[in-house]
Subunit: 276 residues, 2 copies
DNA sequence: TCAAAATAGAACATAATCTATCAATCCCGG
DNA sequence: CCGGGATTGATAGATTATGTTCTATTTTGA
């Protein structure tokens, strides 16, 4: 295998795994530990990851991102199950639009090894997918919103106007059977609406935790989406109401409740001898 | 498991649980109590939690703590000295254009507390400055180049066209007294040229290491810049040649060559050992 | 208040990893 | 077919992380 290609796959691997040690890399790529270290050093210089003691972690892997409240952590499982469904709906060699947000960011992580054209307004998504050799990333520019870290501007809408995409994946903060998807600002509403208009098919990624609320600006009704993906924490009443309003709901199977999976990863590699 | 990753998960665990004791952590991560304590200390120094008697608790109080004090990041001294000069040329409340690249990224780090409007094509710069409360960031969109992680597209040029900026800071890989600034692709050339055209004043940030090379596409001559900032590693001959070609050169003072900085506190501490 | 228990901290030994260096191998052009 | 450069693998010495032990400090209970 070509060294350049190996390094590219290595960066991808670390992005997907969320960090690995040098020995695993050496075994996986059939190289020596020394070469693995050298590769990691090169990749660090190119700003693709961060070398740590014993291996490397992706750049976006920081406890900075973690301190969301415990509720947000619990929602991570929901997002993962939603995006697992979403990724199956995407065909290779298609062009998809990705809305800004944490749910779509989770979806982007699953697209690193797919062959796609992706258009987004989210800087973190663009940066993440830029590490992929198979995804062509396009960023709709404009003023960067400090909170969402995404472009949110009149010119962002202009950029999207001539786009013809296969699918648009819209994430939402707030949704409701009656009012559909709503947002907090007119510009964000325009961007979401434009994305839906540009795509042949639109899919809504909706956390169940946000159901039943609404914001000033209406984006689209639930029936306007080919599919509404949500998680199993959605109350039955909400589910019925949504379906009655014309929505095609798909509920993701959650692995289990918020149990943090008690670790049995005790170190077995400990030497048997050597101790008095 | 990687130490870095273990600590990150530890921070997450404490966030979820709302606090834990060291023994639980030791059992959970299959480490000794002493190591758990050490990890907690590190995490406390990074402001992710608060160490208490017997364990640690999350700090749910301050949403904004200390910004990164990343002195540890080993960056090229040359770039730092160049950007130190550049930052003095920027006036508050002005609008500046930042080219893509590592030198301009260094410059961006110095702008976090300035009151500015910044327009850039570089995703990392945009993401960095989005954290600032005083900088308004605009990203010129388009196809994301995986190598430079910046937008580099026809539409990127289009975005820049109507811009009126006070200053443009152009970084360059290759420069030369005779040919000026040149780049490896036509699109990059167009973007740099456009930035120069959009600004009242253009400043070139040029590593001395790259002097004397050229690429296929010419951006501008050195005389087209109000100022060419470089470091003191530039050979005298090159300096004279550049000035003769009409460039206004400003050479940054490098702090000093290899600072020893030997951490010898360990050796000293070892002597103090007293044993029963 | 004092004494016992529990926990924190320092020091050291050990194990693991990193860095620097050199030799072997592979690739490519002449 | 040969030679130069780049890549790779192996080794030794330095550095870092971890676990254990011992001592100092804090907490708890009477």
């Amino acid at each position: 295998m070509l060294p350049a290609r190996r390094r590219s796959e290595m960066a991808l691997f670390i992005q997907q795994q969320g960090g690995t040690d040098t020995e695993t890399l050496a075994r996986r790529f059939a190289i020596s530990v020394m070469t693995a270290r050298r590769d990691l050093k090169i990749l660090e210089q190119q700003n693709f990851l961060k070398v740590t003691w014993g291996g490397a972690v992706p750049l976006n892997f920081r406890p900075h991102d973690v301190p969301y409240a415990s509720k947000a952590v619990a929602m991570l499982e929901a997002k993962k199950s939603i995006t697992a469904m979403a990724v199956d709906m995407i065909k290779d060699d298609s062009c998809i639009l990705l809305d800004a947000g944490t749910t779509t960011l989770e979806l982007a992580k699953r697209l690193l090894d797919r062959r796609l054209t992706v258009i987004t307004t989210d800087l973190q998504i663009a940066l993440l997918l830029a590490a992929s050799a198979t995804v062509s990333v396009h960023l709709a520019g404009g003023r960067v919103d400090p909170v969402s870290r995404a472009c949110s501007d009149v010119s962002t809408v202009d950029y999207l106007t001539p786009v013809c995409a296969t699918q648009a994946f819209i994430g939402t903060n707030v949704w409701d059977a009656e009012r559909g998807v709503t947002t907090s600002s007119a510009v964000k509403m325009q961007i979401k609406s434009r994305m839906i208009a540009c795509a042949e098919q639109s899919i809504l990624l909706a956390d169940s935790s946000k159901y039943g609320t609404f914001s000033p600006w209406a984006v689209a009704g639930l029936r306007d989406f080919a599919c509404v993906l949500t998680d199993s924490n959605l109350p039955d009443a909400a589910r019925e109401a949504a379906e009655q309003s014309g929505a095609t709901l798909r509920v993701a199977e959650m692995p289990s409740a918020g149990v943090p999976r008690s670790g049995n990863r005790r170190r077995e590699a400990r030497k048997a001898g050597g101790k008095a």
